[in-house]
């Protein structure tokens, strides 16, 4: 025991010694002042980061750590290490085409991390932060600050800006009051004067009927409103709709679970225009045609086919309307707020209205005169042509034939022996010599699943940014 204790103390001493050595290693990289530049023009969209550094010894790894204010942690990219020691300028360029689109107003904080040495002797130093915000230099922006909203626009006069700002402020005021949340930081509202400008900002893949998009993660709303449209009714619908999403995101923020999409979208419509005739008609048409998509199928993603997409907004608004009519507005607010504690949908509904989501859905269906629709899929794939020797059950040797047995074409079995045949993966024994066969492979590998890339390039998909519904005016609506 004594010797063991000594060994442990010795090990501890070694750890302390190494820890003491770390600062010296860390000084192997002496960072200068970093810089960052955003370019967002029609010709080029990129971010360029530079970091002067003096290396006492060659770097084994250089990384840039990019972080947005709300991110769980930095997104890390490796950058080729400069050769040798001495003075260098580290450079990283984020190309919006190659590396992923970033919408304007995306704030990024970058730090550089330089590692010297290898293995247990490696030591990393992290440089000072540099902040950059993705700009949009295609236009000469003007800015106007409201109570909650900071408006950015480039066409139209002061009256246009005042009107747009008033719509935005009023929407945020209503939503924050309703949900009982505070928006301490301004919400940026970028108004583009045409769809080309908007789509350039939102990036490739933007659907052609998107008129506005909210990005809760960067507290920014983008919309396409020409100066002549600012008094059009749809502006007073779409802007509150999108801003409601931003406030909703604040109200439900948690680390575990987001509310169902139908609730998010339904509330945004309900609070901006109410259960308006066009949405009521969409719901009624869904019921009448028997094409209704149930709420539990609208939890994550809305249908992308045009008819069902609009129907989904109608259904969602109908459900919220039913929720408020049946349980009251306070229950609706309680439901929304409960999500902030990371509860499941069923838990949230039970605590707010006393029934789970299935119970709510059943009651809502009764209310709109519909029954639960039948699933149309998934269905089994019809079989295709198979090689002639693949038809039928595989023979005992197809995957793990006992010694001496042969897997013949078509899984044909050779004359039976006294040895058991092996099911796939189960293995069989060679009774003759007692040597045991392998029950499972001994050398094969599995495969790594690549999950959806996180971080900056994924933010558009995971951020709120949900398109608005169509409007009665038929303009500027979402998808």
């Amino acid at each position: 025991m004594k010797r063991r204790l000594i060994a442990l103390w010795a090990a501890a001493g070694l750890v302390l010694a190494l820890a003491g050595a770390t600062p010296a290693l860390a000084e192997a990289a002496d960072f200068g002042r970093p810089s960052a530049e955003s370019v967002f023009t029609d010709a080029r969209q990129s971010l360029t980061f530079r970091q002067p550094v003096t290396l006492a010894s060659p770097a084994s790894r250089v990384e840039i750590l990019l972080e947005t204010p709300d991110s769980l942690g930095p997104y890390v990219r490796e950058v080729p290490a400069p050769s040798g020691s001495g003075d260098h300028t580290l450079v990283f360029q984020w190309d919006f085409v190659e590396d992923g689109h970033l919408v304007p107003n995306t704030p990024l904080t970058a730090r550089w991390r330089v590692t010297v040495g290898e293995g247990d002797g490696a030591s990393a130093s992290t440089g000072p932060p540099v902040r950059v915000v993705v700009g949009d230099e295609r236009f000469r922006w003007r800015t106007k600050q409201g109570d909650f909203v900071r408006l950015h626009w480039y066409e139209g006069d002061e009256a246009f800006a005042e009107r747009a700002l008033a719509i935005g402020d009023e929407a945020v005021r209503k939503a924050t009051t309703l949900f009982g949340v505070k928006e301490n930081e301004p919400i940026d509202f970028f108004v583009y004067a045409d769809s080309e400008g908007l789509y350039g900002a939102l990036g490739p893949g933007t659907r052609e009927n998107v008129g506005g998009q909210a990005h809760a993660d960067i507290r920014t709303l983008f919309a396409d409103i020409t100066p002549g449209e600012v008094n059009d009714p749809w502006v007073a619908d779409v802007v509150p709709h999108e801003l409601t999403h931003l406030v909703f995101a604040t109200a439900v923020k948690n680390d575990y679970h987001g509310p169902p999409r139908w609730l998010n979208e339904g509330l945004a419509v309900y609070l901006s225009v109410g259960y308006a005739p066009e949405w009521r008609a969409a719901t009624e048409e869904a019921v009448r045609s028997g094409r209704l998509v149930p709420l539990h199928a609208l939890v994550d993603q809305f249908p992308t086919t045009p008819g069902l997409f609009y129907q989904a907004y109608g259904i969602s608004t109908s459900a919220v309307d039913y929720l408020v009519r049946t349980y009251g507005r306070d229950a609706m607010v309680a439901l929304v707020r409960s999500y902030a504690s990371g509860v499941s949908d069923d838990e949230a509904f039970r605590s707010a209205i006393g029934v789970d989501t299935a119970g709510f859905e059943t009651a809502w269906l009764v209310d709109i005169g519909a029954s639960m629709p039948e699933r149309q899929g998934p269905r089994s794939a019809p079989p295709g042509p198979l090689p002639s020797d693949w038809v039928g059950s595989p023979g005992p040797g197809a995957t793990s034939a006992p010694a001496g047995q042969t897997s013949a074409p078509g899984g044909a079995t050779l004359p039976p022996t006294s040895e058991p045949s092996g099911a796939p993966g189960s293995g069989t024994s060679n009774g003759g010599d007692g040597v045991v066969l392998v029950g499972a492979g001994t050398v094969a590998l599995g495969a790594v699943i690549v999950l959806a890339a996180w971080a900056v390039r994924g933010r558009r998909r995971t951020g709120a940014g949900l398109p608005p519904p169509p409007t009665g005016a038929g303009q500027g609506g979402g998808e």
Binding site: A381, L437, G441
Partner: protein, 528 residues
């Protein structure tokens, strides 16, 4: 590390996309019925020996055939090999190739081509990412390490149409292993001629299709008339590699794709859509997502710390919250669908009090003195929840970093983070692919470098028995050790979703993420 696919689809499809390149396939589709447009994704390589991702392997298996192939029921079926015999209790396997095999250019394909192709994985100068597939072959380890320079020292003996594979231990499931894309047979030019993998009329295939054209968004595949199973039914296939931002559902709806993987969140509503619902396909993915620790370094060299992490997080709940009704929380490392899998629950119970006690026992009461730890992943969907529960239940502040997978995966090999997350999908359907391969002492894919003799012994017992019950019992014991030692924590299993045009026959993945294009056909012969 192959088969990426379904979960990946959301990222790759949404991140990419323009309409399809002009020419080739589009014109062919207009000209005749035997065409199809299938989303394959952008392969990083077409070289089987260099392949390490599922997208690449999914393309490779269309171009280059293997000795065997897994069918829809995950059974190894004869492909280039018409049969195989297990000799000496599985220590030798004799593959007999089909008669008259040829590459697409008419050159005879023999067992020597198989050996040449497989030895490329063992090239000591440039070992393939999945050289491990062959490391139980006699002499393979010495050869790949450069200790032997004589290819004949490797237990791969070609003799005309037969190939004898000699193993250092019984390997009865090697016929399933031989279905791996990494073991596909390439023509002699691959590896010697840089242009051998270029698309064009000179492309030589051993698989169902030749690569005749390639653009930034599409691979043009043409049926190989000399394919061992006969020319595939569909003559030309557009293997779409990029949708440039378009949704795969939109592309399918527009008629621009006949088959495409889709994300589960689209499957929810599609199931109720009259038009798309009948085209919806679901298959069990032989996948497990798990978290792991660098068990060589403090604090995770202490099993009590790892156990504390395992018990401090309500894994089932965070999976259910993240994935909802589609969730399949893991009950062990071996996913549902693997033959020989146990139904026993091998996941540690959620017990924050016990977790805190374990952490205190390890010297970190209340989290005090716990070293800085960073969880690094390529994005798992559970990271925020895990960090939150470790904070709330153990008082620990765990940092987080995210990396792109192409940088993350090499990092796992070379310099594993203290805590990491990964998804693994089977190359072949057996428990060992998730146990011995991922956690065996010294295994290349044991990223946490965990070593446990009792676990190794249990796996060895499982591999050495012919009795399925005994094998399962031994694997169960191995799973229990994993639960108790917690070098990794299994979190969830997966499912794959796809849309297939009605009338397209054979459009089913087999759980490893491969869609066999040579097995596709249009009902009635032509594309509707």
């Amino acid at each position: 590390m192959r088969r990426a696919l379904a979960l990946l689809v959301a990222a790759s499809l949404l991140a990419t996309g323009l309409p399809f390149a002009a020419g080739g396939i589009e014109g062919a589709r207009a000209a005749g019925p035997s065409t199809a447009r299938v989303f394959l994704g952008e392969p990083t390589t077409l070289d089987p020996a260099a392949s390490s991702d599922s997208t690449s392997s999914g393309v490779i298996v269309q171009l280059f055939e293997r000795l065997t192939a897994l069918d829809g029921q995950l059974v190894a079926r004869p492909a280039l090999a018409e049969r195989w015999e297990l000799l000496d209790g599985g220590r030798r396997i004799l593959f007999t190739l089909r008669q008259g095999l040829a590459f697409s250019d008419g050159t005879a394909l023999t067992a020597a081509d198989v050996v040449r192709s497989w030895l490329r994985l063992l090239d000591p100068e440039r070992p393939g990412p999945f050289a491990t597939l062959l490391l139980d072959v006699e002499g393979a380890r010495a050869y790949v390490r450069g200790e032997s320079t004589d290819p004949a020292s490797v237990g791969l003996v070609a003799n005309g149409q037969t190939l004898e594979v000699r193993f250092v231990r019984p390997a009865a499931d090697f016929p399933s292993v031989a279905a791996s894309a990494s073991l596909a047979v390439v023509p002699p030019g691959v590896g010697r001629d840089p242009g051998a993998l270029e698309a064009g009329p000179a492309f030589v295939a051993s698989g169902g299709y030749r690569l005749v054209s390639r653009s930034s968004t599409e691979l043009g595949l043409e049926a190989n008339p000399r394919y061992w199973a006969g020319p595939p039914s569909i003559e030309r296939i557009a293997g779409v590699t990029s949708l440039q931002g378009r949704s795969p559902v939109d592309a399918f709806t527009a008629g621009d794709l006949d088959w495409t993987p889709i994300a589960s969140y689209d499957a929810d509503w599609i199931a109720y859509d009259r038009e798309l619902g009948p085209s919806l396909r679901r298959s069990t993915a032989l996948t497990v997502q798990y978290y792991g620790f660098d068990t060589r370094q403090p604090p995770f060299d202490d099993a009590r710390v790892r156990q504390a992490f395992a018990r401090a997080v309500d894994w089932r709940r965070i999976v259910a919250l993240a994935q909802g009704a589609d969730a399949t929380p893991a009950t062990g490392m071996v996913p549902v669908g693997i033959p020989g899998r146990s139904d026993e629950d091998f996941v540690s119970p959620f017990d924050p009090a016990a977790a805190r006690a374990l952490l205190a026992e390890a010297g970190f009461a209340g989290g005090a003195g716990f070293p800085a730890v960073t969880l690094v992943t390529a994005g798992t969907g559970y990271d925020a929840a895990v960090i939150a529960q470790l904070r709330d239940n153990l008082g620990l502040s765990i940092a987080f970093e995210a990396m792109d997978f192409d940088e993350y995966f090499p990092r796992l090999y070379d310099d594993p983070p203290a805590m990491w997350g990964l998804g693994w999908v089977a190359d072949y359907p057996a428990p060992n692919d998730f146990l011995g391969v991922l956690l065996g002492s010294g295994e290349a894919n044991n990223y946490g470098r965990w070593a446990n003799p009792a676990f190794d012994a249990a796996v060895a017992r499982a591999l050495a028995t012919s009795d399925p019950v005994a094998a399962r019992a031994a694997f169960d014991e191995a799973e229990r050790i994993v639960r108790d030692e917690a070098p990794v924590i299994p979190v969830t299993y997966g499912a794959e979703w796809a849309l297939a045009r009605e009338g397209l026959l054979g459009a089913a993945e087999n759980g490893t993420g491969d869609l066999r294009l040579a097995g596709l056909a249009w009902e009635g012969g032509g594309r509707p």
